[in-house]
Amino acid sequence: MPKYAILIYEAESGYAEGGEEVWNEVGAAHGRFAGQVAERGGKIVGGDALEPTPTATSIRGDLVTDGPFAETKEALGGFYLVEARDLDHAIEIARLCPARFGGVEVRPVMDTSNM
């Protein structure tokens, strides 16, 4: 099956302000997500949560700077790598992905096996 990346973009302030309670709720939602993907015939083959953007370091050429590559209200905060039959199936899966303070972007993973 083709692979898709589900990129989770959220306002980091949501977690900073929400505290432990929000964090636990969202964590539980991600736990349920894994089961929901399997029920729908998809498969999670990778993914992780990222530390917030203040921990990021960007490198462009020789220049090393503090902070994310682009300053945006909603930042990349985590990702999944999933297998799905086609884009509709990937969208069906991505709709279930928790993203309380933002949304997700679905990107096909390039098939480089023949390159």
């Binding site: 083709p2 039959r85 086609d86 884009l87 509709d88 990937a90 969208i91 679905v106 096909p108 390039m110 098939d111 023949n114 390159m115």
Partner: protein, 418 residues
């Protein structure tokens, strides 16, 4: 069989292009699993038809002849290019994957290939402009130059738009299939929205000198007819065809001999197309009978009330008010609220309608929409408030780009000054 003349053959091929393109391309794309290759094969088949039909006569079923010819070419091409094509992503066709039932889509149905093609072109993961362009290119068989001209963009811009959309279909793996029952309502709405957008672009050319683009209007009606014939049980597909037929029935009466715009109340109703109205009204009744009427079926019902009214004054405004309220609940669009205000002006007078317009002006979503100040101008004119009406006509004129509409608004503004 008598061998037909060259003109007759050209006409027969042109007719087959208009009527059969979608059928032939859709069937060929399922074999090639590559939209560009399918287009090439189908174009070749039409060229081959010119010669073959001149020698053998026009076949009884031109669509089947062309499909066979195009698929032969596709299979030849596939054999030749197999090594090359393994490196390229292919269109996801249900049944082409190992283990899938041949030709069946998600719900186990075997749909007409044309539906697969239409749903692929109108996939919501593509930008709406790209959906419209792809539909014209792949379903209607228009050239890139023709589509560019229709939407007043350069040919390279339109070519890039079409190429980008085709690449996304392959890279993101938008499947060549009809959506399952759960997704169908939303996905069908996207298809109908594309057809409706095509129609409205032709109904009032956004920028042209003439009011109407008959070529786009007719393409849109043909598409609506095709979608309805392929999905006869969908009330919205029936509703859209009804809406387009009933709206287009007024075409000959919408301008005078000099191309000047005439409002509904000024139109000579004897010029309305009675056959289109009869067909449209029958379709409205059918759409309502199917149940669950959506925004297109209700809009068609509104058009039917106008179409059946003996005169503007004798229109059943109360019935229209009920229909608009139903439409607003279904589709809370400020454009619908604006049209409802016009009906209010006929049931409760222009003052009451102005109140409804004031709310819409505050709302802000219709900022820049020329029909808001134009409607306000007409209400003020009817109330005899000519100075304010003139200002509103001028505000509408600022926003209008169509030649016939501009001439109308400028004329009304001048009358208000006099």
């Amino acid at each position: 069989m008598a061998v037909p003349g060259a003109d007759e053959i050209r006409e027969a091929v042109a007719e087959a292009h208009r009527r059969e393109w979608a059928f032939v391309l859709a069937a060929t794309a399922r074999v090639t699993r590559d939209l560009d290759a399918a287009e090439e094969c189908v174009q070749d088949a039409y060229v081959a038809a010119l010669d073959a039909w001149a020698r053998q006569g026009v076949p009884r079923n031109p669509g089947a002849w062309l499909t066979t010819a195009a698929r032969h070419r596709a299979l030849d091409g596939l054999r030749r290019e197999r090594t090359l094509r393994t490196k390229l992503p292919l269109l996801i066709v249900p049944g082409a994957e190992p283990g899938a039932a041949a030709g069946r889509d998600g719900d186990g149905a075997i749909p007409d290939d044309r539906l697969r093609l239409i749903f692929t072109c109108c996939h919501p993961a593509l930008a709406v402009q790209a959906q419209v362009a792809l539909t014209l290119r792949l379903v209607c068989g228009l050239s890139t130059a023709e589509i560019a001209e229709a939407f007043v963009v350069s040919e390279p811009t339109m070519a890039a738009r079409v190429t980008r959309a085709k690449k996304k279909i392959l890279a993101a793996r938008i499947a060549y299939r009809v959506p399952g029952a759960a997704e169908l309502p939303d996905r069908l709405d996207a298809v109908l929205t594309v057809v409706h957008l095509l129609y409205t672009t032709g109904h009032t050319d956004p920028r042209g000198a003439d009011l109407i683009r008959p070529d786009l209007v007719e393409r849109a009606i043909a598409l609506a007819r095709m979608v309805r014939s392929l999905m006869p049980d969908e009330p919205e597909a029936t509703g859209l065809l009804a809406l387009l037929l009933l709206t287009d029935a007024r075409r000959a009466a919408r301008t005078d001999g000099a191309g000047r715009l005439l409002l509904l109340e000024q139109q000579d109703r004897s010029l309305w197309d009675a056959a289109a109205i009869a067909e449209g009204c029958a379709l409205v009744a059918e759409a309502l009978r199917l149940g669950r009427p959506g925004r297109f079926a209700i809009q068609a019902a509104i058009s039917a009330v106008h179409a059946e009214a003996p005169s503007y004054a004798a229109t059943d405004w109360e019935q229209l008010l009920l229909l608009y309220d139903r439409l607003l609940r279904l589709w809370p669009s400020p454009v619908v609220a604006l049209n409802r205000a016009v009906v209010t002006s006929m049931t409760r007078g222009p003052e009451a309608a102005l109140d409804e317009l004031a709310a819409l002006e505050c709302d802000g979503r219709l900022d820049g929409y020329r029909y808001l100040p134009a409607t306000k101008a007409d209400l003020l004119r009817r109330l005899g408030r000519h100075a304010e009406a003139r200002q509103a006509y001028l505000a509408a004129l600022e926003l209008a780009e169509n030649g016939a509409e501009r001439a109308f608004l400028a004329g009304r503004a001048a009358e208000m000054a006099g």
